[in-house]
């Protein structure tokens, strides 16, 4: 039975018992309470009332006695007796109203009868007393009343006695009941006790037994003696039994689990040992390079681990194909005859012996219980024979790359076999790594050797190329020499022809002369011709003078230019070692130099015109453009002097005229700057219109030609009539004194006049002192087709000289072109110089062939640089072509196909050097032209930009002459 049931039954019984005892006690106690109440409320009350009534009656009797004795006033006594009897009757009534038993009723009835008599007698007595008849009253009392009184009291006493008897009986009943109750309770209690003990005796043992079992189990569990749980026989089927049963099962489960874990741990341990060995293999052999060393260290290291007392490693090099196995490592192998040679074969062919068979089959071979004498293991102390032999293939990706042969005295257990398998697997991987590494290394080595051999060959080739080039150069120079002598021959021939020609000319002249002599009679004609000849002579002399002037000013420019540059550099005072005063002097030098340069330029222009060297390039000149040009140029200057500038174009003029625009602008510039210079207030105006008759007549007007007038009018100082012609003369101003107010060389008008003539026009002056002047340029309106003849001429002579068209007679033109060298005055001067120097200098630098006749395009907007550089270049026999900006440079390149090198300034207006270089490089035709960039104090970035833009090289400003020449030499070199 379950403990729960047992406890339930036991406790229920005990509870029932307790409830019984309690209810019994309660009933009895209520019974006793009831009888006690009865006792008190009934009997005791009745006794009390009876006694009270008896007392009252007794007292009334005494009062009556007193009255009769006279001790008491009868009336007072009567009142007292009446009172007392009234009280007695009240209590009697109470008593009689109470519950009465039969016996009591009987007594009560007797009392009632007695009372009636007593009351009547008493009333009579009272009457008597009242009436004062005491004697009679005494008699009544003595006769009747006393008896009745006694009778009443006795009845009363009887009632009390009855009551007391009843009380006694009731008391006895109560005692009996009490005793019975006590007995009953005691009985129940004893029964309860016995029952309790019985229950305890019934429930306890099963609990303690169960707990004891559990405790024992817990103790064993605590001690880990799980295995002994099997022996526990648990019979009880109660809760504790079940618990124990559960406990047993847990313990047994745990036992099973523990055993499993232990097994697992041992497996893991074993695996760990294997892994450790594998890790060691990797660690030990990974870095090896030599296969044999690796094999040897493998067998040396792992034979002891595998418990092997004899071992061999055979390997085959996969690179060698299906080759033999080669002995690569051995362990404890005896040498044959003790001479160090191993007693085992160094090579094994596939299929040869067990080893070869294993190699062929890629399967391990195990031989247990080796026959005696199969192999010996020995040490200094003795010798034994192994029992087991394993031949294990070393595999890598299913290919056998070697075989390991091991012999053990005490056999191989599974762990060792497993370890051997794992080691061989790893060993295979490592060997393969080493093999492939060796292969890669070999390939690398070969490729490196080939790379180097290639380099050697390429250098040899370069070397041979160099030799070839030298030979070539030699050949070429010989060819050049040949060509030169040929040229010399040709030149001599030409000279001869020339002499011949001259001779012919002379012969003709002679013939003419003869003819002239023959016509002696025409004396006047002769004199005339003589006069003409003299005039020509004069013109020639003047021309020589102009040429000299031109040459001289050209030569003057070079030194002057350096003076300008240097003085400017000094004035900038970069080193900060000049005083302000000195800087001022420098600036003065610079400004004066500048003026001088301008003057020389003007002289040069003038002399060019005089010498007939001024080129005229007619083109369509848009007159609107001219106006705009002048407005742009002079508006700021006019504004500075607070003069108004008025431009006025008449309607009846053509849009464009065929003339040299550049020269026209030059003239207008001169006139304009004069006008502004000599005007202090008022206005300067420019007008294009038809010329007036007066203006037309003032120059060499050609019939049938239309003219156009460009006039500049000012409101300035004007010119005195007798100085009119003077101002057009060279170096003259109206005010020729040294203290004159206005600066300038005085060449502007002279040049303008000459230029006007070159353009086929003239300048008309209309002036009034202090009122102002009007200079009018009158130009013919020519058409291009009118000059087709001249253009043909130009093509023929390569230099179209205005002089030939305008100022010179056809005859003199021939004379001028006789000597071609005249057209290059600077060169001729230099040649004279070098010829003089040539006496003691073996080879002057100017003669350098590299530079000879090379055409250099100089792109720079700064005229000073232009002059400085060009003078250097020209001095070295290079021809210089100019451009003021990138666009012009591109145009020049377009026009002149044979430019050898470009010197390119970077900072220029219109199109800068970078852009220009990029454009040049974009054009395939100019791709190869070397460009040397001129960069000002260039920073790294600047230079990079140059190179990126396409410069071949760069040179920094200020340009060092020798450095520039070195550079040009380098880049001109073929």
């Amino acid at each position: 039975m379950k403990i729960k049931t047992k406890l339930a039954v036991g406790f229920t019984l005990l509870l029932l018992l307790l409830v019984g005892i309690t209810s019994f006690g309660y009933i009895r106690l209520s019974q006793m309470n009831h009888s006690l109440n009865q006792f008190y409320d009934n009997r005791f009350e009745k006794v009390r009332l009876a006694l009270a009534v008896r007392g009252e009656i007794n007292s009334s009797g005494r009062v009556m006695n007193d009255i009769m004795i006279g001790d008491q006033d009868p009336s007072e006594g009567v009142d007292e007796v009446t009172n007392r009897l009234t009280g007695a009757s009240k209590q009697f009534n109470t008593l009689s109203s109470m519950e009465l038993t039969g016996a009591e009723q009987d007594v009560m009835d007797g009392i009632m009868k007695v009372t009636e008599g007593y009351v009547t007698s008493l009333e009579t007595f009272i009457e008597l007393v009242k009436s004062g008849d005491v004697e009679k009253a005494k008699k009544l009392y003595a006769d009747k009343l006393r008896g009745e009184q006694r009778q009443l009291i006795d009845s009363m006493d009887e009632l009390v006695k009855t009551q007391e008897n009843a009380m006694k009986t009731e008391m006895a009943d109560s005692r009996t009941l009490y005793d019975k109750s006590v007995q009953t309770v005691a009985l129940f209690t004893i029964i309860g006790l016995i029952l309790g003990v019985a229950i305890v005796m019934w429930v306890f043992p099963s609990i303690t037994q169960g707990l004891n079992l559990l405790e024992r189990m817990a103790q064993r569990f605590g001690r880990g003696r799980l295995r002994s749980f099997v022996r526990f026989d648990i019979k009880s089927k109660d809760e504790l039994g079940e618990l124990a049963q559960l406990f047993k099962r847990i313990a047994l489960d745990l036992q099973v689990k523990n055993e499993r874990e232990a097994l697992l741990a041992s497996i893991q341990q074993r695996q760990g040992r294997v892994n450790a060995q594998i890790a060691r293999v990797t660690e030990l052999l990974q870095e090896g390079h030599d296969v044999k060393l690796v094999a040897q260290s493998f067998i040396s290291e792992f034979a002891p681990v595998l418990g092997v007392s004899y071992g061999l490693v055979y390997l085959s090099d996969p690179a060698a194909g299906e080759g033999n196995l080669e002995l690569s490592g051995s362990y404890a192998v005896l040498s044959e005859n003790g001479e160090g040679e191993p007693s085992v074969p160094s090579f094994v062919r596939p299929g040869e012996g067990l080893t070869g068979q294993c190699y062929q089959d890629a399967k391990p071979i195990v031989m247990e219980n080796l026959p005696e004498g199969y192999v010996k293991v020995s040490s200094g102390l003795g010798m034994t024979e192994p029992s087991t032999l394993i031949i294990q293939p070393i595999l890598y990706e299913n290919a056998v790359i070697g075989v390991i042969e091991l012999a053990s005295v005490d056999g191989f257990d599974s762990e060792r076999k497993e370890l051997l398998l794992a080691l061989c697997d790893k060993f295979g991987t490592i060997l393969n790594n080493i093999f492939s590494r060796l292969r890669v290394e070999e390939l690398l080595r070969e490729s490196q050797a080939m790379t180097e051999e290639l380099q050697v060959q390429s250098e040899e080739l370069v070397c041979q190329q160099e030799e070839l080039r030298e030979t070539n150069d030699k050949l070429e120079s010989q060819q050049d020499d040949l060509k030169k002598s040929e040229q010399r021959l040709q030149q001599q021939q030409e000279e001869l022809e020339h002499t011949n020609q001259e001779l012919t000319v002379k012969t003709i002249a002679l013939e003419q002369h003869i003819e002239r002599v023959e016509i002696q009679n025409r004396q006047i004609a002769l004199a005339n011709s003589e006069l003409e000849r003299q005039a020509l002579q004069l013109a020639l002399t003047s021309k020589y003078k102009s040429e000299f002037l031109a040459n001289m000013s050209h030569e003057l420019r070079t030194p002057l230019n350096s003076l300008l540059i240097l003085s400017e550099f000094l004035a900038e005072n970069e080193e900060g070692n000049l005083t302000d005063k000195q800087r001022e002097y420098m600036q003065t030098i610079h400004v004066s130099g500048h003026d001088l340069l301008k003057m020389i330029d003007e002289i040069l222009d003038l002399s060019k015109i005089d010498a007939g060297k001024m080129d005229i390039h007619p083109e369509w000149m848009v007159l609107g453009d001219l106006s705009a040009f002048l407005d742009n140029m002079f508006a700021p200057m006019a504004a500075a002097k607070r003069l108004s500038l008025i431009v006025d174009n008449s309607n009846d003029i053509p849009g464009a005229i065929w003339t040299d625009g550049h020269r026209l602008k030059q003239i207008m510039r001169n006139l304009f700057s004069n006008a502004i210079k000599f005007t202090d207030n008022g206005a300067v105006s420019f007008a294009v219109r038809r010329p007036s008759e007066q203006e037309l007549n003032s120059g060499g007007r050609e019939e049938g030609t239309r003219y156009i007038a460009l006039s500049v009018t000012d409101t300035g100082i004007g010119i005195h009539p007798d100085k009119r012609d003077l101002i057009f003369e060279a170096f003259r101003q109206a005010d020729g004194t040294t203290s004159r107010k206005y600066g300038g060389t005085g060449l502007g008008l002279t040049i303008s006049r000459e230029l006007a003539q070159l353009l086929g026009g003239w300048i008309h002056l209309d002036t009034e002192p202090d009122k102002g002047s009007t200079f009018t340029l009158v130009l013919p309106e020519r058409q291009p087709d009118q000059q087709s003849l001249e253009e043909e001429f130009q093509a023929y002579s390569s230099e179209w000289t205005a002089a030939s068209a305008e100022t010179m007679e056809a005859e003199s033109f021939d004379e001028i072109n006789v000597n071609p060298s005249d057209t290059i005055p600077s060169t001729s001067v230099l040649e004279v110089d070098s010829a003089q120097e040539g006496e003691d200098m073996p080879k002057p630098p100017e003669k350098e062939e590299v530079f000879d006749n090379k055409k250099i395009l100089l792109v720079d907007d700064d005229t000073r640089n232009m002059f400085a550089l060009s003078s250097v270049l020209e001095h070295h026999n290079m021809r210089v072509v100019y451009a003021e900006n990138g666009i012009e440079a591109l145009n020049r390149l377009d026009e002149e196909s044979d430019i050898d090198l470009v010197l390119m300034d970077i900072m220029m207006p219109v199109m800068d050097g970078y852009e220009a270089m990029k454009r040049i490089r974009d054009n395939e035709a100019w791709n190869k032209v070397p460009i040397i960039a001129l960069t000002a104090k260039a920073m790294m970035d600047d230079r990079n930009k140059c190179i990126e833009a396409g410069a071949s090289d760069y040179i920094t400003k200020p340009v060092n002459k020798d450095q520039l020449l070195s550079l040009i030499r380098v880049w001109l070199h073929r």
Partner: protein
């Protein structure tokens, strides 16, 4: 058979040159030496190596010509500009930390690269605290190098190289030219020592911070190359720099594991231990 015979003849010729003139080409790469010898044989109009041997041993002029063939003076200013760029960017900062820099340019030939290096150091402000030892086996080449003469026709290429090598100025700052030749300005040679040195037979002469030996060892056989590598290793200071030619490698030499690769592309290595 002919090949073997030719080998014998060549060996004898080189042995003879070594014994007669002291130039040791015995450990040069055979393939190259063979080509150079045959080149000379053709130019001299001879039938075989033995005939050349006869001439070379008896006629020093012929030997000089052969020597010119054997010693290949191929060089350029800023050859492999990227190497010089890397030198400027990566090596110069290290050299700045040194109080004095010693550089050995072994096999300097006609000095183009030495001058390039000098210009580079000058631009970096290091030339005054540097000494460049420029050595070569060929005395003729050294004479040219000492004069700083450069063929003018190469200058365009050199200018490009200079720019590609990170040159910061106008290249023409560094040379003068006259008709037909360019001369590197002498002040750039103020700290260059030109000397004859034979890598085959001579030993080290100092400890250096940088050794350049570019496209020299490619003419050597493996044995000689290893020997020269040992020489360089012994001559380098700790963390010294070794620079070899763009097509060369220090792998497979006995010293390869003593260097760390400083710049693989430009074949710059640094001695580590």
């Amino acid at each position: 058979m002919d090949d073997d015979l030719e080998k014998i003849e060549t060996t004898l010729l080189l042995e003879g040159i070594f014994r007669r003139y002291g130039y040791d080409f015995r450990k040069y790469s055979y393939a190259s030496i063979r080509r150079r010898i045959w080149h000379r044989i053709h130019l001299e109009g001879l039938p075989n190596v033995s005939c050349l041997q006869e001439k070379v041993l008896h006629d020093p002029e012929v030997f000089k010509r052969l020597l010119g063939d054997l010693v290949i003076p191929v060089t350029e200013m800023y050859r492999d500009p990227e190497m010089f760029l890397s030198f400027r960017r990566d090596i110069v900062p290290h050299l700045r930390k040194l109080p004095f820099v010693r550089i050995w340019h072994a096999g300097c030939s006609t000095g183009e690269e030495v001058h390039s290096l000098a210009i580079l150091l000058e631009e970096e402000g290091l030339l005054d605290q540097s000494r460049i030892y420029a050595t070569d086996i060929n005395e003729n080449a050294l004479e040219i190098a000492k004069d700083g003469i450069i063929p003018i026709d190469r200058m365009k290429q050199y200018t490009k190289n200079y720019q590609a090598a990170g040159g910061g100025r106008s290249f023409s700052d560094y040379y003068d030219s006259d008709n037909g030749g360019v001369r590197i300005k002498p002040h750039l040679r103020r700290n260059i020592v030109f000397a004859r040195h034979n890598l085959v037979t001579d030993s080290s002469f100092n400890e250096f911070h940088v050794i350049l030996c570019r496209n020299v060892m490619i003419y050597f056989n493996n044995q000689l190359r290893d020997q020269v590598h040992r020489l360089f290793y012994e001559s380098l200071a700790h963390e010294g720099i070794l620079i070899v030619g763009a097509k060369e490698s220090i792998s497979f030499t006995p010293m390869s594991d003593r260097y760390e690769t400083f710049n693989d592309r430009n074949r710059i290595f640094r001695k580590m231990r």
